[in-house]
Subunit: 764 residues, 2 copies
């Protein structure tokens, strides 16, 4: 049956055409839809019974119109002027009036059509877009703008280091540094080594070392170099860090003048490639338990370095598989059968010609998930003898009479003091990780801004970054990246100016920020990969390498879970006193303090307040973060104390609350991040930059509160109305920041040669 038979141009039945088209064009003709149409047809008194039969008959799924008929029905509507029409009924009437102007519909008939339309559940007022193009939506309109001066932002982020950063970027943008794929492990390792040599030639290797070693004595600069290099190949960064950071700094910080004079210059120039041999197969996190031995022989004033059993072999040692000629080896010092704990020794492992020293056996760790440009190896020592001078003797030494000497009585305290001097690694790693996040977000946000998919009926496809879920995935990490930038700046400054007395605080701060930032990076790069879909999976778009190379950051320089507990234990020391005499009175005190908090911070107005100015208020954010930090810490202390009082072994007690302790570390670090972000913003005068940074800071704060809303609700610090309002505000901020997102990644000023990904190319 041809459509003309059902809807002859001159027939009143024309009015049904838009309805029939919509029904059949729709995915499926449901029984409900059938009933609705049936009753409509019987309501209309001006239909003859033959009309009715015909109309009903053509609702029968068996008699669906042919695809061609469907298209013709559509065409007969497309001719009409629908601009003012929004409902299907309006369109139906317009069509009828055009084809059968002589016939006019009674109000009651019109009403019948309208209620039928409702009952059919035609969502919204865009029926006309079923028949014509040009559907405009807010979602489609939204687009990239820049409401601030990108250059000023970049200079502000770089601060005093601008000059050095520019220099490093110039080098890694040089064609000799162009990123590429490799045929083999060997080829990749060679490339990375030669890049490191070039960086050494440029003087970057010795940057932190004293002048006599060719350095600039500039530790701040060293961190900046690590961070900036991290826009480039991360194998290169880690190889650089192993050589000039771990190997060089262990000589610098654990050794004394004689070692500095002898080694530093050659290390900084990469004449003397070396390793940092601490981790053993059997002891990674618990390095205090290292089992390699260094036995002192008074008769010939030497040490014998030995691996007592396979599990005591040094593992994952960077530079060991191929290039290292020497290593700082951590081993238990034994004098006359007495164990003086772990100390550090300079041990040769390879001759200049690359052959192994007698008494050294090395295995290649082989392929890894990432960082394959770094030659990690396993080292065994078999009674290797080294001269007495090779002991790195800043904190301990063996005197002429063969007696052990140290200003620090306790072996453990001494070892942890040594480790403390190496905390710099826990600053370099998170700063490197954050650069990788910046690159990943730049790629994903550029792609999300260009990539279009789906759209309203009759409208164009929409940039995926305009979809709320896409914003929810990429915009909060962008805010956190800015937040962490300021937090890591703060950490660096604290570290560079730290004194004896705040040493432990700095260690906790570095441990916590290392864990927080590297977890953030792993999570963020996963999001970036998924946000780029199939394109994100292709190696050419870099997220592959960024993700796999940084994956181990959560493990090395300390396992993140272990580090977070270290942070928590450091925070708990302020409760040491209470532990000892936490009798009912003290507990009562706590509760009293908590109660005080309740009075000041838990008043109903605050806990329920959803008013915008309050939700965006920096002070509200900070006090909420501080409250959580304090409350979680003291409740952890109380729990441990309670278990111990109940007779539980303290080791068990700490294990029972381990999950709680990780939250203690988390809450502390998040407060530090927010505080340093807020303070950082005070320092910029440019209004545009200040405005967008403030927005990012609010987003970071509210997003973090949203993630912890379960806790705040449990505490009664917030009520449901407020946490819902926070969620809504997060969505709104994501929507608003999306406009500046592209410019905010441009402000990272990452060399295009490092971004490299075809999907992130501007010209595409």
């Amino acid at each position: 049956m041809s459509p003309i038979d059902l809807f002859p141009r001159q027939s009143k039945l024309n009015v049904f055409l838009p309805f029939y088209y919509t029904l059949w064009a729709d995915m499926v003709l449901t029984p409900t839809e059938f009933q609705v149409m049936q009753s409509l047809i019987f309501e209309l008194d001006w239909l003859s019974n033959t009309d009715r039969e015909l109309l009903i008959e053509n609702l029968n799924p068996e008699k669906a119109p042919s695809p061609k008929t469907l298209k013709q029905w559509k065409k007969s509507v497309e001719g009409l002027d629908l601009d003012s029409k929004e409902s299907l009924t309006d369109i139906a009437l317009t069509l009828a009036n055009k084809n059968t102007p002589e016939f006019s519909f009674s109000d009651s008939s019109i009403q019948s059509f309208r209620s039928a339309e409702n009952a059919l559940g035609i969502v919204g007022r865009e029926a006309r877009y079923i028949f014509r193009e040009g559907h405009k939506t807010q979602t489609a309109k939204h687009q990239a703008e820049s409401n601030f001066d990108i250059h000023i932002m970049t200079e502000f982020l770089n601060g005093e280091q601008s000059e050095l950063i520019r220099k490093v970027k110039t080098i890694i943008s040089d064609p000799t540094f162009s990123l590429r794929e490799y045929e083999s492990l060997a080829e990749q390792r060679e490339q990375v080594l030669s890049w490191c040599k070039e960086l050494a030639r440029q003087g970057f290797g010795s940057w932190a070392y004293p002048e006599f070693a060719g350095g600039k004595n500039d530790m701040a600069g060293y961190f900046t170099i690590m961070e900036t290099l991290s826009y480039h190949d991360l194998s290169m960064v880690i190889k650089f860090g192993v050589q000039f950071g771990l190997w060089g700094m262990s000589i610098y910080f654990l050794g004394t003048e004689k070692h500095h004079q002898k080694y530093l210059k050659d290390i900084g120039s990469l004449q003397l490639p070396g390793c940092f041999a601490m981790t053993e197969t059997g002891h990674g996190s618990n390095v205090r338990g290292l089992e390699t031995t260094a036995t002192y022989n008074q008769e010939n004033k030497t040490f014998t370095i030995h691996t007592p059993h396979p599990a005591a072999r040094k593992e994952y040692i960077g530079n060991a598989a191929l290039h290292g000629e020497m290593a700082t080896v951590f081993a238990k010092l034994i004098i006359e059968g007495e164990d003086y704990g772990v100390n550090a020794f300079v041990v040769p492992i390879r001759n200049k010609n690359g052959s192994l020293i007698d008494g050294v056996k090395i295995e290649d760790c082989g392929r890894k998930m990432g960082l394959n440009g770094v030659d990690n190896g396993v080292i065994y020592f078999d009674q290797l003898v080294i001269p007495k001078d090779n002991m790195l003797d800043r904190f301990s030494s063996v005197n002429e009479n063969g007696e052990f000497e140290s200003p620090i009585s306790s072996d453990n305290k001494r070892f942890f003091t040594m480790l403390g001097t190496l905390v710099g690694g826990r600053i370099g790693i998170p700063r490197s990780a954050l650069s990788a996040s910046k690159t990943g977000l730049t790629i994903a946000i550029r792609y999300g801004d260009k990539r279009k998919q789906f759209g309203p009926p009759g409208g164009d496809e929409v940039p995926v970054l305009n979809y709320r879920m896409h914003q929810r995935r990429l915009i909060p990490p962008l805010a956190s990246t800015y937040a962490l930038h300021f937090a890591l700046q703060y950490l660096t400054v604290r570290y560079l100016n730290h004194s004896e007395k705040d040493a432990q605080e700095i260690e906790a701060l570095a441990a916590g920020l290392k864990a927080y930032t590297t977890w953030f990076t792993t999570k963020t790069l996963q999001i970036c990969r998924e946000a780029c879909g199939g394109k994100g999976y292709l190696s050419e778009n870099r997220i592959d390498d960024l993700k796999n190379d940084t994956d181990v950051y959560t493990t090395f320089e300390g396992d993140n879970v272990v580090l977070m507990q270290l942070v928590a234990k450091n925070r708990l020391t302020e409760f040491r006193q209470e532990f000892s005499d936490m009798n009912m009175f003290t507990v009562a005190n706590y509760l009293a303090n908590q109660a005080k908090v309740s009075i000041t911070e838990k008043n109903p107005i605050i806990t329920r307040s959803t008013d915008e100015s309050h939700l965006l208020d920096f002070n509200f954010h900070l006090s909420a973060f501080r409250y959580r930090e304090r409350a979680i810490l003291s409740s952890a202390a109380r729990r441990i104390k309670r278990h111990i009082d109940d007779g539980m072994d303290s080791f068990d007690a700490f294990n029972v609350v381990q999950h709680h302790l990780v939250n203690v570390g988390q809450a502390y670090i998040e407060r530090v991040i927010l505080e340093s972000f807020q303070e950082g913003i005070q320092k910029i005068s440019n209004a545009g930059c200040k405005a967008v940074l403030s927005q990012l800071c609010q987003l970071f704060a509210l997003y973090t509160l949203e993630n912890n809303r379960g806790w705040y609700l449990e505490q009664g610090y917030m009520e449901g109305v407020k946490t819902k309002a926070i969620r809504k505000m997060v969505n709104q901020l994501c929507w608003d920041v999306r406009k500046d997102a592209l410019a905010l990644t441009d402000a990272f000023d990452i060399p295009e040669s490092c971004i490299k990904a075809p999907i992130a190319q501007r010209n595409q």
Copy 2:
């Protein structure tokens, strides 16, 4: 000064030795500690002033005892019998009584020592372990047991498929299938192809096809094969799925008899390698917008396949770069300038000799994050002419007069009906993903059970799986893995028996479980990597490949975020009616219903109940999940409706609530998972297995509730006391399940050759 000077054997001062040792062995001598000791020293009336001076003087950090002295102090205590001693004071008195038995301490002196000890904050009662070994703790004692019959569990999990599973495992355990590293992309792709040929030779390729094509007409078996092969190399699984699933099934489900007869046999035997060419660079998720054209030419009864512009090229097409000879190409059918939407065509792309067909251009996608054994390619068509018979004409065709014919009027409905027949892919993928999770968890849990790190002072090191955080990371995913096993079984059965009318529900179910499971797998393998530390980063331990190969699962067969919205929209159709006439009355109805819920489910006793039997009750779990599912769905519906009533474009309205919609999908899927797990457990009679499965089910339920506690608290469905009790119960269940964890992974019965990881070897 030698220790003897400070604590001569015969001197009463000996009583101070344990205190001095503890202070100096401790990490740092704080001012507080100094004050405490000072006042102790002045309290004790029996000390002479010289004694006092001597003691005070030796608290001076400048005069710390030498390392050797410290050790001697320790030795002088180690001799004592400390079994009954717990406090430092007890030890001090024992030492004093031994060396100066003639002197007895007054109660008040003893009290002074005790309070000093308290004030010093010596945590716990294990002072003696500072001086002697053998420190036993609950944490250390905890270990692997098996409280159920592993074999019975395995058989229960495998069910009717046991026989086939055993067969597949035998093949992949054969030496020709041993996993290895590859020198090059080419080598890896060759290996994977030859494995697939071997699988075809074994008859696995055609398993789902009709007998005449050499198959067993057994779709259930096909899924089992995909799932079991996934313990082995995942490139092989995906290559297998591309050839026999995507390529073969598209012929089977979209073609008709003539196509089945012509192609299926050769596809199943891998004589005819082919591709599934749907995705285009410009259209991945929004496949309805594909732009490749198939123009019909009536004069010679052919179609011309053409790529109108670069963005319309087919991308990521498996089998395209090297091996594919034909492809099912999805293209817009054009007849006399009329566009009949996307249809499917069989298109030759390569000759038997491997050379490309004229009119076909192919590029290699090159290296990917994973699945590098699959040769993905890009295909361009340049006016390639194919015979009329190559149209896969099950749902549409061109008749002799060159007219388009289809029982389905609407182009969109027709296309989605075609896609609907291919939903099987969304069942194979999550089942493959879950196998990868099982392998990852087996490796991480075996390692966590063996790997020891840290321990109490004077005690042995502890298996890391005994640490609460390690349990928190690995045990809930183990529970979810079991839960998902049952959910995917349920999905498979529903799919195999589905009828016309529940087709859409099955599609939503498959989409949701695909998204949920693949996200779960990505998250779980990340946890496994980190839980294995540096070892997890080495490729030899497999987590590298498992992680990178499955990473794209969250993208292909539909982007997870898009799929979850599809699920939500399907759930919303039940509100279609309400959308149309959701007047104040209907809204009132909602609220009334919600209110009813409140009365039945929100009564204070339930919202506050923390009693164990309630927290572990299956009915409590299920009703909480169902409540969330219903409430989130109806609130989403209300929000959309409200926005539309406020005049918002419906496309914008759906975008505004996108995040909410993903939660709708999530809540629905989580309810389905819990329900099918609970039902699955009813089916096993063996008491031991039932018990441990019930525990896993409780853990899955409570862990999920804990993750959603923010929402439950917001709703007032639970109060803080309850969510805290749930958290505590999750910790307890993790602790309890840990004992069975090893056995629970053994029950997966993964071939050792597939586990492969050295860290997971039993004999190590």
